[in-house]
Symmetry: C2
Subunit: 476 residues, 2 copies
Amino acid sequence: MTKNTPTDILADLSDIVGAAHVATGTDATRWSEDWTRQTHWTPLAVVRPANSSEVAKVVQLANRTNTSVVPVSGNTGLVEGTYAQGALMLSLDRMSAVRAIKPDARIAIVEAGAILSHIHDAANVHDLIFPLYFGARGSAMIGGALSTNAGGSNVLRYGSTRHLCLGIEAVLPTGEIVDLMSELHKDNSGYDLRDLLIGAEGTLGIITAAVLKLHPKPQAYATAMVATPSLDAALVLLNRLQQDTGGAVEAFEFMPGVYMDAYLERFPDARPPFDTRHEVNILVEVGAVSPRDATPQTDGTIPVAAHLETILETQFHTGGVLDAVVAQNESQRQDMWARREAAAEVARLRPNVIDNDVCVPVDRMQQFLDLITDRTKALDPDLVPICVAHLGDGNLHFAGWPSSQDPAVHKAIKQAVDDTAIELGGSFSAEHGVGLTKKPAMQRHKNSAAIQAMRAIKEALDPKGIMNPGKVLPDP
Amino acid sequence: MTKNTPTDILADLSDIVGAAHVATGTDATRWSEDWTRQTHWTPLAVVRPANSSEVAKVVQLANRTNTSVVPVSGNTGLVEGTYAQGALMLSLDRMSAVRAIKPDARIAIVEAGAILSHIHDAANVHDLIFPLYFGARGSAMIGGALSTNAGGSNVLRYGSTRHLCLGIEAVLPTGEIVDLMSELHKDNSGYDLRDLLIGAEGTLGIITAAVLKLHPKPQAYATAMVATPSLDAALVLLNRLQQDTGGAVEAFEFMPGVYMDAYLERFPDARPPFDTRHEVNILVEVGAVSPRDATPQTDGTIPVAAHLETILETQFHTGGVLDAVVAQNESQRQDMWARREAAAEVARLRPNVIDNDVCVPVDRMQQFLDLITDRTKALDPDLVPICVAHLGDGNLHFAGWPSSQDPAVHKAIKQAVDDTAIELGGSFSAEHGVGLTKKPAMQRHKNSAAIQAMRAIKEALDPKGIMNPGKVLPDP
């Protein structure tokens, strides 16, 4: 093996993808920071292949030259997974095609650089949905969503990205292409390489294409704001709603009273969800795909909304619901969602926001909240906890404004959140992944036999350690 | 390392689990053949640990002594996955507890040796279901179901075993216990070892416990026999049913006319499904969990059944349905299921039945059937194809009675079925796994980069190659 200089590598890259598709210096600036703009780096270069064969050639070159490769698609991740100081970034943005929608089979075949909202649009033409929705959907790409097993607000009904994927194509760290582009719902032919690569954050290979599941598009939504006496009561309500709607609950999102206060402070013209302030505010959405549930009646009522109202009334009479408002039209529905979707903006109202992405078993949400309230108060008595949660999945984005300016206190609060989640059988990373940011938590909390097995797999598939090095796995 | 003799090993095993739980000779007979009783072997011994710590000690001993270990639970597999000539069989049958049902969280925590029907019973007490159903459920255990990612008749609505599992505990080939007993719906903390071990058929470790998802129990079923003009028309009907019931289709099972003929030959007192013979007969079942759909009305009708009847009538008028009968009571429903569940018995009516377990994309079922009919007729003009299928998943159990007695012709027919499935983007193994039986198909059809990656993972996790050796992966 000859030792190549960066100049040789750049020339070889240009041979593979064309000089126009190798960016360095200021041309690479847009790939030189993460979405939060808090982390910056200088890559060796950014290479933008046009197809999986070019991806394979680039990875083979990287292998020969011991060059680190950091794959990047929409670059909307939150855990520094695309940090690439001195590394070759491989951008999938030119591989953006939605190759096919097969409406009868209810699948989409896409390239890794396809933007989520483009996939949404392509499915919508056939009255189908690809139900992976989160704030960054206008720039996030499916390759990154698969690599991080992204979640969002509709996991409750449709599952995470992993559950929306039937097959993938990937380039392994050795530069070989594995074709697992299965359109099958059942395929027990050997180890589940698909799910191993999904969620591996680009450390075991680069996902280049995927077969995605589509679902029928709801023809109507019933959306409500509901106040319950506690999170335990909210879980009872969720189970009741799942039972009575046949599993049609699309979202079940928690916003505490203190979050609502902050929201109304930020948007003084917005309406409060209820006449009275409540501690536990929940956004419920039920989707109706069936004409029977979705078709407006002669009196203008929509069956799914009437049904939701009946269920909530019954729960009101048993004390399981303190207050409830069902959206009467799309504009009221949008107002309800606006409250939830402002979370990132609300969190940034004050400096030093501390945030987390933890998960606990759904029947321990109340216990978690009680514990973490006490523990954070012990660390910072005036902390304002503005936690929002995908309650149906047990996924809390615990955020808080500290009164203390001491970084050590901030760190202690973050760790208390992780530790409390772990103590209750939870996880320090629900949907954002590990990247660089959560490697210390991975080291502290993941059981060592599991980490050993992950390391063995990493070494087996990436013997030179060139693929997104330093991410996910704690340093030995 | 000292070289141990089998006698030493048996003594050491007795020290770990107690002499009463080490079976050899005739005591091991019940573990010395597979479910089909076609394959026999003589194991070194059968060891029956009481808990995962004993499993770990047994595996550590096997590692030290280079002893092959073949895990076994219910032993109802169909691909010789428990073949264990000269190997130490590790039976999970003593680890049979359903440790807990958590009704609010809708999970079950079980040991690997828990029998499926026991899990069903335990969930039923809480009006919940564990929706993994197949013929062998009275003896199959969850450990084997997970290791083979078993399917069944309800995958369409609830997914395969993989999709019903939140967490596992496993003993790796090195004898280390990995605790991944997550009760979480979202957990992105490192590589997906859970899904790697699920479906690995005991070659990467022994699953010892699991956290399972439970679902609300349907309170009523609407069941119908439907005749359609083609499988393509059946897919249109399925999509319509999914849309109109909000995804509540529990089963969509195909039986061709020739299968019905054979069924009626075997059970002369049974009723034919329709007054007229049809080529495409489909058993449809819709489950209603909501009281709104399930509660009998004052006139005795059950809403879900009335709804199914309306949908089928509409399809009848467009020509998408040729004939349909909706079960009016539980006894009629049982008659409908009896036709489908007799498949294994019907297949054995004549000798030399050729069977397969293939999957094709759902929109290519008709094309598959057309092609395979032509191709098998070319090989054996009088072959009687009595294929049944989980049509909603694209999973065909293609079976046929050959007129030829020539084993070479039988083999050619089996291969033609596999080859045709592969040609249409399908798989040679939908839900049964690979074991020993399908290793040749694995060699012929799986792409070589994928097999290489699987081998690398196997070597990384099982460097001594002691864990269920010779299964799944083709010999190098």
